[in-house]
Amino acid sequence: MAIGAGLCLLLSVLAVPACRRSDDGKVRITIWHQDRIEIRMMLQRQLDRFMQLHPEVKVEQLFKETEELRSGFIIAALAGQGPEIVYGPSDQVGPFEMMNIILPLEDLFQKDWLAGYDPRAVTWYKGHLYQVADKLGNHLTLVYNKKLVPVPPQTDEELIAVGKQLTADTNGDGKIDRYGLTWNYTEPFFFIPFMTGFGGWIMDDQGRPTLDSRGTIGGLEFIKRIRDVEKIIPNEADYNIADILFKDGNAGMIINGDWSWAGYLKAGLDIGVAPLPKITSTGLWCGTMVSPKGFSINVNVTETKKRWVLELIRFLMSEGSQLEATKELFTMPTCLAVQHGDFVRDNEILRNSQIQIDHGRPMPVVPELRAIWDAMRPSYQSVLAGTMTAEQAAREMQALALRRIKEMNE
């Protein structure tokens, strides 16, 4: 009831504009994003520079958790309010477009300007451009501790072999103290590389789920095998546990996203980033979902303010801003000049990141993706808990995904 009342309250009485001309006469622009602290600090430096260049504009960034950002923006924008710019991965474009709360951008940015960016960084949906991204990826890779893993594995068999070498009871108490590999294997997002490695994918071109497949079954069985038979991964690991194990040197390798690398380097770890291995039996690389992270504009933005919003996006997307972010965060830039520039070319982490991106597939932007994640989670966890076979899980995922999509679209 509290949630219902809160929802209604926000839908109905959200009357505090997040953006308006401020008391000091400056044009005020707000950006909502979900980025971690290092990115926030860097973004603030860039915003400060923008405000120095344009003293008549005041820009504020506001961090929100993923779900809070999504639901908060929907509620605010439907009430005719909200931030001028919403920043995040491209999968939010689908629901936002369906609710008509973000602007089509194809007439706002010149084609020549857009041509300077990786085509995967501009998100088109239903014939309109809804997002321009300054980062490409949000993808998983194999991160390894160079002290423990001098040469990263290239195939699943090598992965198991390296994992077995590393997994050890170092203090002789009968319990394993160091694992070869770890990752957050409670979340289906981290299952996708294994699914693709065995030839599966989550949906077809029409947005229909394709979960009941050999790829799903193969991926599930592989994870079960490396946990229960090869015993190279912990019995149980969510994101935090996996992260701590790797940081403490109690896991030689971790499957984690581009958002994590800067943190590991800052923690003093000598890390390497490698593409996820190839599955020998299929000859396919474990490909991850690749998603641009970028800017969309609130449909409620006023004409007078739109000029400054576009100026700000161009500034944040510029070569200088992207190079700064790339050097500091090791995220893949979308500006072609930076992507093909010296820094990316000479940096081992970014080179391998690029290879992983090339192995990946774009994250679908349709709203049905939510239903698919939700449908995958319970069966995936049941397989790991040993209460369901991989075949049963694939069937259940598919059936539940279809039902969830029907419910969403009724």
């Binding site: 009831m1 509290a2 949630i3 219902g4 009342a5 809160g6 929802l7 209604c8 309250l9 839908l11 109905s12 009485v13 779900e67 999504r70 639901s71 929907i74 439907l78 629901p95 369906m98 609710m99 008509n100 319990k175 409670t186 912990p234 019995n235 149980e236 969510d238 935090n240 546990i241 709203p367 939510r370 239903a371 939700d374 989670r377 319970p378 069966s379 966890q381 049941s382 790991l384 808990a385 209460t387 539940l400 039902r403 969830r404 419910e407 969403m408 679209n409 009724e410």
Partner: protein, 301 residues
């Protein structure tokens, strides 16, 4: 009506209006708007062009096949609420009785320590407990295996164990509230009553049964009612400790159903209908409980 009466009424009106406006804005209007949404087809595809569809969403709440089943979740929510409240009240009142003893020294320190779970943000509590329930590295299993020689428990992987785990976390979080309330009530009991009972030779048990419990009841009953509503609707602990329903959506409560429907699947009409159902369940419970416990009667009369 003379001028004084009129002025008095106007004065009362002026005092009441600000509170009423706030109440209207944050409770009354949202509540009725929620009722309207619950009768509509508002969802992702009909967010702007929604229309009233009658009781369709309520029918779906009770009849739509869901995973897990609505009735199973409802039963689980009732068990969750009863077990939590039982432990909250028993532990809370017990600790309050201990702290109310004259012989105890350093009461303020004990009180501060015991209130600690309540003072820590729920997010921190939930994530800490989640870490403690980890199969290999969690403190709970380390204690069970190394101190007691018991086998490790898969707390977060099996449905029953996961449900017990979230209950343990919430019991730890919830007892300080009942303890504080009970302690306040105990301190307001006139000491003369106990002295008179001592003269009559009453035992500790008889004093508890005939003086303490009846006199703390008017305070505890509203606290229990409030605790029931909070616990029934407690999204944070279940959602965070079980990581959104792990394992396999087996640790959901009704309120997390609402959350998922409204914010994960954009089914606003369905979510609103479910929240109204929860409202009436809690309203019915509160009315019955308050009446059966005679909470509003004056204990001294």
């Amino acid at each position: 009506m003379n001028t004084n009466t009129l002025r008095h009424r106007l004065y009362v009106f002026v005092l009441v209006v600000p509170a009423f406006i706030v109440l209207f804005g944050v409770v009354i209007y949202p509540f009725f708007y929620n009722v309207v949404i619950s009768l509509s087809n508002m969802n992702l595809r009909h967010i702007r062009d929604w229309r009233i569809v009658g009781l369709d969403q309520y029918v779906k709440v009770f009849t739509e096949p869901s995973q897990p089943d609505f009735y199973a979740v409802f039963l689980k929510t009732v068990i969750w609420t009863v077990v939590n409240l039982l432990f909250h009240v028993v532990i809370g009142v017990f600790l309050a009785l201990v702290l109310n003893q004259k012989e105890i020294r350093g009461k303020a320190i004990f009180r501060a320590i015991l209130i600690l779970p309540w003072a820590v943000p729920q997010l921190i509590v939930a994530l800490t407990w989640r870490g403690m329930f980890n199969y290999e590295y969690g403190a709970i299993n380390l204690i069970l295996t190394q101190w007691f020689g018991l086998p490790a428990v898969q707390w977060l992987k099996q449905p029953l164990e996961a449900f017990i785990a979230v209950i343990i976390a919430n019991v730890w979080l919830g007892f300080p509230f009942m303890m504080v309330i009970a302690l306040g009530a105990l301190q307001s009991i006139p000491q003369e009553l106990y002295e008179a009972a001592d003269i009559d030779g009453a035992s500790w048990y008889h004093k508890l049964k005939n003086i303490t419990i009846p006199l703390i009841r008017p305070v505890m009953v509203p606290a229990i009612t409030l605790g029931t509503i909070w616990t029934f609707n407690n999204l944070n602990i279940v959602w965070l400790v079980s990581n959104a329903g792990e394992p396999s959506d087996q640790t959901h409560l009704l309120v997390s159903f609402v959350y998922k429907a409204a914010f994960n699947f954009y089914r606003y009409g369905y979510g609103a209908a479910l929240s109204i159902v929860i409202f009436f369940i809690l309203l019915a419970f509160s009315l019955v409980f308050m009446r059966s416990s005679k909470a509003t009667e004056n204990v001294y009369s």
